[in-house]
Symmetry: C2
């Protein structure tokens, strides 16, 4: 067994978009588990937009990372050594393991992954946090009804691609916004979106959206914010529901952006806007995972992964994801399964 662990730590707080130099690759000894703990070796590391927030010291729902601390992140791993009777060496697990090759964590923080159900990487995607986020953010907050028009921003991202497909399962008309023509083609040809367009190249996003949503917009699932969201708000129908999952357009601004005020539009349309964190639904994760796994095995939920190779590739892959360079769920492969 290896005795050296490689980790990526936060070297400096980014100003604007993170740079590779904001991260350090460090070598430390592989730790040993104490009673109740488990030593794991990570297979896939998940890269997610929320990590950008942890790199800042602004107040948020989670404490900021300290300079020199290992970057936080979910991962799928194999158990190497277990001091928790619930786990055996060789078990596949998922947990918050950080940007590192080996981790020691309390067994109670790990979730077992069934490798026979689906590829184990799905525990970080459709059968993990992104799937749960799509499920509750769409179904619980927006309760979309058959025939309604659902718009998704960041539609080709880890969460957005699932939101659109779940809305299709519920009988909605689904319109996606994404940032490249390749993504648009994929949404239309592979995922069955009813319409989609590239908001980076559209001459007038609002006009395009109006053309693609002739009956207005009943539900909006927002991953992006900024001008993309402004263009949606103007087209919402009475009693529209808006679920705010992320605001990736705003995370790397050096100066906060200002925008049109639209609370008056919420009054006129009797509309709801709700932000959420998937952690609030922890008690209902089993119910959601059951649905997601059924839809996945029935072929109703497709997904795509963008996999970087090796821990040292993580910083650049993370920066690329914040710029929309990834297509599908961004992962880093740390070891062969």
């Amino acid at each position: 067994m290896a005795t050296v662990n490689r980790q990526i730590t936060l070297a400096s707080r980014p100003v604007g978009f993170p740079k590779v130099s904001d991260f350090h690759l460090v070598y430390t000894p592989v730790p040993s588990p104490a009673a109740g703990e488990v030593l794991v070796r990570s297979i896939y590391l998940s890269l997610d937009p929320y990590m950008r927030g942890r790199m800042s010291d602004a107040e948020s729902y989670a404490r900021p990372l300290a300079i020199g601390e290992v970057m936080t992140g979910g991962a799928v791993a194999r158990v190497v050594e277990s001091m928790d009777p619930e786990f055996l060496p060789g078990d596949t697990v998922e947990g918050i393991l950080g940007w590192q090759e080996y981790a020691v964590v309390p067994g109670r923080t790990l979730r077992k992954v069934d490798p026979d159900l689906a590829p184990v990487s799905t525990a970080l995607g459709v059968l993990g946090m992104p799937g749960l986020t799509a499920y509750f953010g769409l179904l619980d907050i927006c309760a979309p009804r058959r025939g309604e028009t659902v718009v998704v921003s960041g539609a080709a991202g880890a969460v957005g691609m699932l939101v659109g497909q779940i809305a299709k399962i519920k009988g909605c008309r689904v319109v996606g916004m994404a940032g490249s023509d390749t993504k648009i083609t994929w949404l239309l040809d592979e995922l069955g979106f009813d319409a989609a367009f590239n908001y980076r190249t559209a001459a007038d996003s609002h006009a395009k959206l109006r053309e693609l949503c002739p009956a207005g917009i009943d539900v909006y699932f927002d991953n992006v914010g900024g001008v993309v969201t402004d263009s949606v708000i103007r087209l919402i129908n009475a009693k529209a529901r808006i679920s705010v999952c992320g605001q990736i357009s705003q995370y790397n601004l050096e100066k906060p952006e200002r925008g049109p005020r639209w609370l008056g539009q919420l009054v006129v349309k009797q509309a709801k806007v709700q932000g959420f964190l998937v952690s609030a639904y922890a008690g209902r994760f089993p119910e959601a995972l059951e649905h997601l796994a059924r839809w996945l095995t029935q072929g109703k939920l497709k997904y795509r992964e963008d996999i970087a190779q090796g821990l040292e590739a993580a910083p650049q892959a993370f920066i690329g994801m914040l710029q929309g360079a990834n297509h599908g769920k961004q992962l880093v492969r740390l070891a062969e399964y």
Copy 2:
């Protein structure tokens, strides 16, 4: 009986704040009721911020008034002549009667007012649209719990003063924002608000609000919008609920205002913002009126009226209300009861 009706019509669409010249006083014959209709003489006319929206031709939830059309508005009236068996001459009623001394309307659009329950003007205030708006906007959308901090903007207005008192009835800590020191004194000394401040003269509204809400803000009832609301959003607690009733700071802008984007704050705080129109709750009006009448007769709901005299005073009173010059529910007395 008089044969001449006086009406106030929309003379021109205002740019920015309405001017008196945007209204016309016209003389027309008193109309006669057809089958099912009722001729009424108005006693009190209600002036409300929503009327500003009807004067514009921007798309909204209700069609814009046409140039030359009688200004819309609720009023309390006495029945003069009835062709509807449900109503007798002398009955006191409330309905959408417009800015005029006499009106003919279908009997089914009228609500009978019990003059023994409370002064009849309350049918336009605590026992009318403002009371219902406060009731549903606070209780249904925000579900305030005992001990929570509730902030109200426009706290001395027709709706705001009731929101604060209902929140007190529910055991909340209530903080009001209003635009004059006289209003603040009244909120604190007469209505029992826990704290209140004048946002027009505060050096730093956000700092003041933070001082007055040491445990953060759980519920916000917004009548004002703009920078007032910006200062609240930064202080909301996890799972905060925001009810958007009006945006009076925005109604008379010649150029739409821009402001900070704060959807990211909604995510971090898992907060909800919901716009509403009281009309959506029509099926539950009886339930609400029963509660409001009980609280009123128990002395738990106090109110204040600002009464202009005579139809010709309505335009200036309306303009004053949009500028916050009124203290309490703005009415116009058109006749003695």
